[in-house]
Subunit: 303 residues, 2 copies
């Protein structure tokens, strides 16, 4: 085994990925630019939050990088069942909300966690939330994810696709957030995977983002939309808010651990709506989309 990569190398690679993604997305948007906020964390480390608002395609897009470290609180030790005295965590988190309801919402996260006793793991995921599901585009998205997964381990895609189905689910609505994607956590070296190979996988997930979303933007940005479709987008964004505030573990952990609120909640859309008990007609495009918001759909090979 080669000398293990260090946490500094991982953070540097993630920082680089943040920068490349922002460049690619600015280019895809055409007019929007990411503003930068560098912030410090009192207990150690900090982050770089980049936000694009009111672009040509994107209404609100956030790309967070963070590298935080410091002593474990007793509470964190208990919840992680460890004696380790300190931790280090770095990652990139992305959520993008487009103006046009035919452009999907997208989310991506890659992260690395290490404790002072040497324990470490990688986690992350990427998932797509179309306001209107286009099955061809959902297939394109999942095939791109599968290709990156297959390069590293043929078991990754089926395992992580299922994990995403479970994770990005809204129990009180009995629907998935969107068409899913992949989700993984607690990956560390084992008989078949070195630390550096998992790191490579993590970078590949990050590097996939720009190409995939740029393609989805260019395919949909010119599509006409009606008031009714815009309203439906607002309703779907409301569900996105529900998922993020009620269930998303990263959001909950961030808010509970006194994280930087504005960086955590950059995932919320500029605008969202809630109407009482308004279900779309089953036969409408909106109803068709809802009928596909379920676990276990084989997007790569739809019948």
């Amino acid at each position: 085994m080669a000398a293990d990569i260090t946490k500094e190398e991982i953070a540097e690679a993630y920082r680089q990925i943040q920068s490349e993604i922002c460049s690619a997305i600015e280019k895809a948007d055409g007019t929007g630019t990411f503003k930068s906020d560098h912030w410090k964390r009192d207990e150690g480390g900090g982050g770089h939050t980049r936000i694009l608002e009111d672009g040509s395609v994107l209404e609100k897009a956030g790309v967070n990088f963070s590298e935080v470290y410091g002593p474990f609180s007793e509470l964190m030790q208990q919840s992680m069942n460890t004696d380790a005295s300190a931790f280090f965590a770095t990652g990139v988190s992305i959520v993008m909300h487009p103006i046009n309801p035919h452009v999907p919402i997208i989310h991506m996260n890659i992260r690395y966690f290490e404790m002072s006793d040497g324990t470490y793991w990688f986690g992350g995921g990427i998932d797509l939330t179309p306001h209107y599901i286009d099955q061809g585009q959902a297939a394109f998205f999942h095939k791109a994810l599968k290709k990156v997964c297959d390069k590293h381990d043929r078991n990754y895609y089926p395992r992580f696709k299922k994990w995403a189905d479970e994770y990005f689910f809204i129990p009180h609505r009995n629907e998935t957030r969107g068409v899913g994607g992949i989700f993984y956590d607690h990956l560390s070296e084992d008989a078949s995977h070195s630390k550096s190979s998992i790191f490579e996988f993590s970078k590949d997930v990050g590097n996939l983002f720009g190409d995939v979303y740029t393609k989805l933007i260019s395919e949909n940005r010119g599509r006409q939309f009606s008031e009714k479709e815009k309203e439906w987008q607002m309703i779907r964004r409301g569900r996105y808010v529900e998922f993020n505030l009620v269930y998303d573990r990263g959001t909950k952990f961030g808010l509970q651990s006194n994280g930087r609120t504005e960086s955590i909640l950059m995932s919320l859309p500029k605008q969202a709506m809630w109407f009482y008990n308004r279900d779309p007609d089953v036969a409408s495009p909106e109803g068709k989309t809802v009928s596909l918001l379920k676990k276990g759909v084989d997007w790569v090979d739809l019948n």
Copy 2:
């Protein structure tokens, strides 16, 4: 002690309060009318959800009545630390979101809970969330609550006002939801209070709602508002969504216990907004309001 009032009497009184409040609010609004949804709960009981949308004053207003009962799940027994095999719960829950940002958002809840072993308690509260705080109106609101509290127990208002300050607080924003009000829970008979006197208090809280909110509507409904003030309202509604989805115990319990989602989430506004890191000028009306969103303000006797 007189023969104890029954759960059926309590439910009937609450049902009556729902009906009277809806009438008073329709009258105050002028054109909006409450639609009715009667619903059943598979495990026992049901409810009556009444929603007014797109009135003259109110954009979205919900008044829920529910009367549910049935066997305790093992999980509920554990979380309530009881051997009781069944429960009964009834209550009225209200949230109203006005169109005009100078009319405050209001919330009220009265509830009664009883277990098959005879244990019971009352809970509830009422709190006001102005988009722009008017100190005179906040004082009016708190004085009205104090008057009702004082009629029953001189300790109620200070105790329940403080409880509301603690409860209606958003830690990740380090601000209260609004100007607070009263919050109480687990009230049952003791040396100084009979069950029926607590029931009377609970009804007085419910009966207070219509008069107080009608006054606040009539004082503010005619006030002009700008685009900027409307946008500020959307931001404050965003905070309301954050409180309800992240912290509100009733909402969380409802969603986790497979409650009727549309009745629980009627508390969410028709529309809300989130801008990245946008803080108002300290000297602006918006900044002034934020400076007052803190615990421990003596609204009844402001200096």
